[in-house]
Point group: D4
């Protein structure tokens, strides 16, 4: 019944859809690729002995996939998501910005730019042919470089096969 | 100096960018089109005698443009943005869902799905060639149908010229 | 020492202040008037036998004064502030919108436009010579019309003396 | 129909509008000027090779204009808005406070004063004839001084023409 | 070492403590009484066959005790706390306001006054000698009247013994 | 190096781990099962022609898996997660509570119990041998009953194979 | 009419008010004293040449009075309120904790304890006869010590007269 | 009546409960143990002369018990809860991470991983037979090591008796 109501409504509000011409196009991170990336990172961390969460987001920083290993702490959901968001939005590994703040304390405010930002190792941008299409973040290993290694392994495995 | 540091860092973290093949493509709402839409809606409402805010968001619901007329209340920023988000994410005019809840009170929970959702007339999806590429929301006129009229006028003017 | 540092800094960043010409002018709600309004409303409610909070905000919805009577519940701080915000931003008594939603349930979404909005009697816009300069909200009396009566008494007393 | 209902309601609630006399006046940042400032800053950054967001807020810190360039990360919306808010509310370039915290770590709490505050280069107050009327913030360039340069260029171009 | 530092600091900042005279006094809900109330309510609900959370707050709505039974859903923490807050701040059973909104839909905005408010049966004010000293809220039973019965049983048992 | 530091730290803080005896045991939703459930629900909805998000949470309402189909709106992430949370915490299909509020408007406050609650069809509890171990939520189909059908199909397929 | 309904309701729910005996008593900060404190602090800062906001809270950290001077930035509302809350809850000048973090960086987490905490000079506890009854916070002067001086002047003036 | 409605509804939605086989089992922190831990920690701190709040959470970081001593500041509720959450989720004393950030400033972002995280001494994980089953946090003593001592005393007393 909802469907019928909405169909009727749709008939009255067609104006939003217009035959337009040339809007620009861009590649996007589809779910299939995102799932492969998340699984590969989780598997790598499990192999390394760490229970982690993995998040994969698109170029807008919106979640595509999020998975949490048995025994990974609840905070790893948000830490991995924020790392993915930060890398996707800023276009660099999150570890770069952590190092930058250490060297230049006057940019510590980078941590406060947006509630989704997390300046802590473990996030990598996902780029294809030089275009930023998303980000992957890992949380739960005892050190950001260990989280990042799992993210890197996933990118190496999945994107090089494309 | 920041630039130099980041350039060095980039040299060490190239792995995120891989020669990939076929990711799918999609059209997106560029800033130029978004600005034309926002200006046209604001102008229409000014002509109609209303001080409003207008928000235009992309298909992910992320703001492209937001403008607030002199004398438009501060709440119109969020009301217009949420209307734009709701239409972009749900693919229909926000007024459709307001009517739907009136007829079927068991779906009143639609209002609570996400903090960005606003079920109130004045938001329209932006579609090109049948594909949803964003949303436009207007707030501040004394009635959602008046807000929506400005949004519709903007779509008619800008997208039909493409 | 902070002062000295900032003075030095100011010398280097003067560019923000430019000899400009004609920007438009508008009246604003000064603190003295706002305090008189808040005190008058609190006094009226005390006379009526109610322990309330009173908030007065400017045209941007930003608080000028907030006071809470002994024995007024903590929630009255936010309820009075939101009523003041809502009236200041929408330009009408909050009770009008509560009645409107009752008559037209399809506009129930008005309640969700912004986290500062409260559609409940007890808020009035503050207008001078037809220009909206702020809002006053009262919370804590057992009924919105009782809250509103205190707000109205304050406006009658303070603004008619000007 | 909403309009009719509200008109009736208005007839019953006139008391909020009183013939007042002398409230103080102040200049305010109108939309036209705000749009020119935002466009000029975005254009300057594009010329410099950076995809940024630009926000312009009024003296109350409320957004007048917000625009996001193609390929600017989603976090730049909030980072630019917060920079504009911070400069508008505190009356100085955001970079001044970043430097201050570096020199005096006991004032690091400045970062936590309000959720809208961002102590990071890229925000400038907008002043006219010595009066603070708003703020402009830029986010997305690889360094706060680069963001600030775009904001400064906009102020130089737009306000010196007034 | 922290203690030493603070002791030194305290010596320099004594001015906040002044020999004052007559500030008014009021009774307050001490922890011992609060714990007895919470335990009694949880026990009653367990006897009735329900796994619940119980919250007890003081007159300012600040938590004194919160306990969650095995198998009580996580949402019962917030639902019980908000019921306790609402009763403590508004001075009545939460069920009264739920009934009031049913009869007078124009006061539905009561639900939005403050993020701590919950208009749903299961909260009772705690009063001693006519003075409001706190609130108790129960969540998790299949019906607000069942939650309220446990809260009432606790008040009957604990406060009548005083 | 982090690992070394933490290992040293661990040696000094062993006291938290004690040889305890009989704490109660309970079954929990492992990641493998959660992923199968999420995939099955997404597949069913794709077969039915709907682009949806699917969330699976554990008995504490914490996310195990979240996936979003290509072209599913961004709001479906939160709507599916909240539906899963609500069913996991309250132990019933979310549609039951939507129907309940329709029949008994005095319980409309159920919608406000906790920010994770969503009273809208599309969420089902996950139970094994009568014990509640989590919840699954689906969002994006044009009607809650359609969302729920995908969740039900996933439970039927995955849990009956166990 | 609301009053009548509530009166009827009250008759049915008397059980919350019981003849209890000995609950402990404590002094509390009444509105009259709070207003005098706020006014005195604002006046002192005006004399010193600073436009500030002043907040006075009770021992629970709940606002009693909040006032904002003409031309004080909007962020000073929250900064003054948080300073007042922090001093009231922690029982010391906020400047003490700012100094402490400078000396002992391992306690920087004090800044994150609660969203109402602000570790920045300008807040003082209000104590009477050694009992903590509230806090006062000032924001807007160019330096926390200048803010604190206004708060101290208010305490000296108002509480020594009692 | 609610119960009847829900019983009927339950009859129609049985599918969520399926005869499943082998899901893994894990020990959990029951309420009885949690209450003993909280009381023991509060008692120890009272003996030491400190008014504190104590929070005990389960392995998912969800509160089991929270108690606040007379005269403990309101901020200690959140500070103790966050310490408990942090230890439960990260599996180590919170003090370890405070020390870690002091030594390695590039991991300061740990503070921002999740809004429930607090990197400040006073939280300990609760482990039984090597398995993490929750966390305990104490707030209010003048130093994190003093808070932690109370938490440790509680674990020593309660878990060694099991």
């Amino acid at each position: 019944m909802i469907k019928q109501l909405l169909t009727m409504a749709a008939a009255m509000t067609l104006a939003g859809s217009v035959q337009a011409t040339a809007l620009p196009q861009q590649a996007y991170l589809n779910l299939d690729t995102a799932q492969k990336l998340a699984s590969a990172a989780l598997t790598q961390c499990a192999t390394d002995g760490y229970n982690v969460s993995v998040s994969v987001v698109d170029a807008s920083g919106i979640t595509r996939v999020q998975i949490r290993a048995d025994n990974a702490g609840p905070h790893t959901l948000e830490s991995s998501r924020k790392k993915a968001y930060t890398s996707a939005s800023m276009g660099r590994p999150t570890a770069d910005f952590a190092d930058l703040i250490k060297k230049m304390p006057e940019v510590a405010g980078l941590r406060d730019m947006d509630p989704n930002i997390l300046i802590l190792g473990g996030g990598l941008p996902i780029k294809v042919a030089g275009q930023k299409i998303g980000g992957i973040g890992v949380g739960g290993a005892p050190g950001g470089h260990l989280d990042q290694a799992c993210a890197q392994a996933a990118i190496d495995k999945v994107l090089s096969q494309k």
